[in-house]
Amino acid sequence: MSDAVDLNQPSREPAQPHPLPVGSAGERSGGWWGCLTLIATEGSLFGYLIFSYLYLVSQTPQHWPPEGLPKLGLGIANTAILLSSSVFVWLCERCVRRARLRWAVASMALGVVLGCAFMGIQLIEWRAHPYGLSTHLYGSLYFTITGFHMAHVAVGIVVLLFLLLWTALGYFDEQRCAALTIGGLYWHFVDVVWLFIFSTLYLTPYLFREWS
């Protein structure tokens, strides 16, 4: 497209007949850009949550975390599950672009299942903790931060379910699948944010333990 209007060659007609794509065209669509701004502002939100956690940790006289170091095994497995779901969401769009509708539906369904598995395991972890939201400062931070993320995962799963439905109904082909691109982008964002939360909540206590 870069040759449509060349500012250094004034002799050219400004509005030459040049076929432009029409409508909601992938990364040229308004929705893609809108989703990027949404990610910027939501990313900041999680940034401020992590800032609050680190600020309060740096100021606290308490033994941290009060109930001992977090267990890593289940958390790491859950992280792997969430990240793998991103792969299948990505795969769904690839299949749609090649008109492999059944594979696309299967792939997206698997992505949804993995997302639900993440939420289930997270709920098991929540239940295993001896403390709650209002027990102490660490509990407030832990449940608020993971709660915010869980809410985003839940919204993401609903988005994926609708994408699954629309894919199954045959709404999308290789040209018209901006919704898949945009919804997938949001899901990848939710997954990447988890890496930061996991590092902050599960890994940094080990780091701080060595310093103190």
């Binding site: 497209m1 400004p14 809108g34 509708l101 939201l133």
Partner: protein, 617 residues
């Protein structure tokens, strides 16, 4: 759904809030006019100064600028609408509902009462058991949604919806200002929304973020609040400075001196604005190293501000000024900006700030900068664009009278506050004893505030009279250079029948002035270009160079934004009342609205015309 209608609604609503905040201020000035007055009880006074601050800063200052930008952006950018017309409607409805929400507890005498920055632990449950703070906290989260979606719309509109040829170095300064403010908001608003949400959880759920007894830290509140609120201060002034940078040169009959430096100064102010929040917290016992850094950063802000100021002065100096009403307001703004800027540099010095923090000196400073940089350009901007909005001119005579009453009233009201502050008068006291030596300064301030209010009244009368019987304006009454003046007044719903093609910053002044560096004579094309006549269409262009990239299908009218805003407001009402099931049901209502909104439509070419079948394999 038309951006012009939404823009005007924003302007009118924001002005109504300005009047409410103004009446609150006048009642306070009656109370403070003389010592030991008993017009108000301390509780009433607390609620009034809190609601005055909240109203002016959150419900007037930014929304009024969003109104200008919503109306003007597509016109000055050569576009048919904003990037997301329905999101635009959502932003307005939530703003309106959040404003009503914040005022909901006012009639029962339980309005927010801990100051607009609402420090913990005063705002905690221990010291404030009523619904006052809950309303403020939840209302601010709701308002944050409006600000955020509005900002997203501005950012994407700038990146995608400019007319071909309008590269980034050709957009008006107003666009730079709003773009910078919007980008800042996207990064800063989550901070305050989170702070208010955590505070509400501390109060109603029993968490411990600001609770000292359980290891929480009240200073976390101040950090989160000011990380947001300092960039916000620039968000409410930069677009207004943009108005001046665009409109002042029209009355100097020359282009703005130093377009590039002014645009860069705008962005630089916001960028530095993100690392100065601690200067609101100098007196909180923060380590000396942090004080030095943030003090120095605060002083650095003076540099981009001075760049812009000298650009305006040079524009007036080297131009041929025409002393119409908008010129008076813009020139008055430059003067007030200098006064407010100087007192700002003074308080950036840490020892001086220790002396003056929480005194009337700070109150004087913030009113000079906020009224000086926001209200004067806004009123000047309305005089300037009123002909475009309505097709009618406003009165020169009433306008000049109004300007001088406002200008004199403003200085009589706010200058003595500096002196009261230097004499040690603390802010937020509901009365004072007679022997403190503050009587004269306060009396003069109160008189000046009523003079200022009279000026606002004259302006409003002028607006109403001109609406009825103003002289017809024509397309371009000021002989201005930018695209919005190339069309009829008021503009048609589709703005541009033909998508224009830009070759310079001043498409309507081409031939009279020439930009340096362009040797080949190039002219903008306003009557030849893309026609885009198949339904609602708009042209998407590339982010930097504004080359045509895609033809966008624009959505039609829809009720989804209104319902989403209504359900969102009810969610917060449910949370405020502790009606959890109701809040959950309303949240489901939000979800349904969003699904209806985003369902892929054939008309927008978001899905295939014929259902796709599997290719096999």
């Amino acid at each position: 759904m038309d951006h012009k209608t939404i823009g005007l609604r924003y302007l009118v609503t924001a002005f109504l809030f300005l009047l409410m905040g103004g009446v609150e201020a006048l009642i306070m000035r009656v109370q403070l006019a003389r010592p030991n007055a008993t017009v108000l009880t301390p509780e009433q006074y607390n609620q009034l100064f809190t609601m005055h601050g909240v109203t002016m800063i959150f419900l007037y200052a930014l929304p009024v600028l969003s109104g200008f930008s919503n109306y003007l952006w597509p016109l000055v950018l050569g576009s048919r609408d904003m990037a997301f017309p329905r999101l635009n409607a959502l932003s307005y409805w939530i703003f309106l509902f959040a404003g009503i929400f914040l005022y909901a507890s006012f009639p029962t005498g339980q309005a927010p009462d801990a100051g607009w920055f609402n420090y913990a632990p005063l705002s905690g449950l221990e010291y404030s058991t009523g619904p006052n703070i809950d309303v403020y906290a939840l209302g601010m989260v709701l308002l944050g949604i409006s600000t955020t979606v509005g900002s997203m719309n501005f950012v994407v509109t700038l990146l995608r919806m400019r007319a071909p040829g309008m590269s980034l170095d050709r957009v008006p300064v107003l666009v730079w200002g709003t773009l910078t403010a919007s980008a800042g908001n996207l990064l800063a608003v989550p901070s305050v929304s989170l702070a208010f949400f955590l505070l509400w959880m501390d109060r109603r759920i029993g968490t411990h973020f600001f609770d000292v007894l359980n290891g929480g830290r009240p200073l976390l509140w101040q950090h989160l609040f000011w990380i947001f609120a300092h960039p916000w201060v620039y968000a409410v002034v930069l677009p207004a400075m943009g108005i001046v940078s665009d409109a002042l040169p029209v009355f100097c009959r020359r282009p703005l001196v130093g377009y590039g430096p002014v645009a860069l100064a705008t962005v630089a102010t916001m960028a530095i604005g993100f690392v100065v929040w601690i200067h609101h917290m100098f007196a909180t016992g923060i380590p000396a190293l942090a004080l030095s850094f943030f003090g120095a950063a605060s002083m650095v802000i003076a540099i981009p501000s001075a760049v812009a100021t000298f650009a305006w002065i040079a524009t007036i100096w080297t131009g041929r000024p025409v002393f119409r009403v908008p010129f008076l307001f813009f020139a008055g703004f430059v003067f007030l900006f200098v006064v407010g800027g100087v007192s700002g540099v003074l308080t950036a010095a840490v020892p001086f700030d220790w002396q003056l923090t929480d005194t009337y000196f700070v109150v004087a400073h913030l009113h000079y900068v906020l009224l000086g940089i926001n209200v004067f350009p806004v009123i000047g901007g309305i005089y300037f664009w009123f002909p475009k909005f309505t097709g009618k001119m406003m009165s020169e005579r009433l306008g000049k009278l109004g300007f001088w009453v406002l200008f004199v009233g403003f200085n009589v009201a706010f200058f003595p506050m500096h002196i009261a502050g230097l004499l040690g008068m603390p802010r937020r006291i509901y009365t004072y004893p007679a022997e403190m030596g503050w009587n004269t300064a306060n009396l003069i301030t109160s008189l000046g505030s009523f003079l200022f209010a009279a000026g606002v009244l004259i302006f409003l009368i002028d607006v109403l009279v001109s609406l009825k019987r103003g002289k017809p304006a024509g397309d371009n009454p000021w002989d201005a250079p930018t695209l919005e003046w190339s069309m009829s007044s008021p503009p048609p719903p589709y703005n541009f029948a033909v998508v224009p093609w830009l070759a310079s910053r001043h498409p309507l002044w081409e031939g009279r002035i020439d930009e340096p560096g362009i040797t080949v004579p190039m002219r903008s094309q306003l009557d030849e270009g893309y026609l885009l006549a198949q339904g609602r269409e708009a042209l998407g262009t590339t982010a930097l160079e504004a080359n045509p990239d895609v033809i966008l299908k624009m959505p039609g009218d829809s009720y989804a934004p209104f319902w989403l805003a209504a359900f969102a407001t009810l969610v917060f009402a449910g949370l405020a009342l502790g009606a959890w099931i109701f809040a959950g049901a309303m949240l489901a209502g939000c979800a349904v609205s969003i699904v209806v909104w985003l369902w892929p439509e054939r008309a927008l070419i978001q899905r295939e015309p014929v259902a796709v079948r599997d290719a096999g394999g």
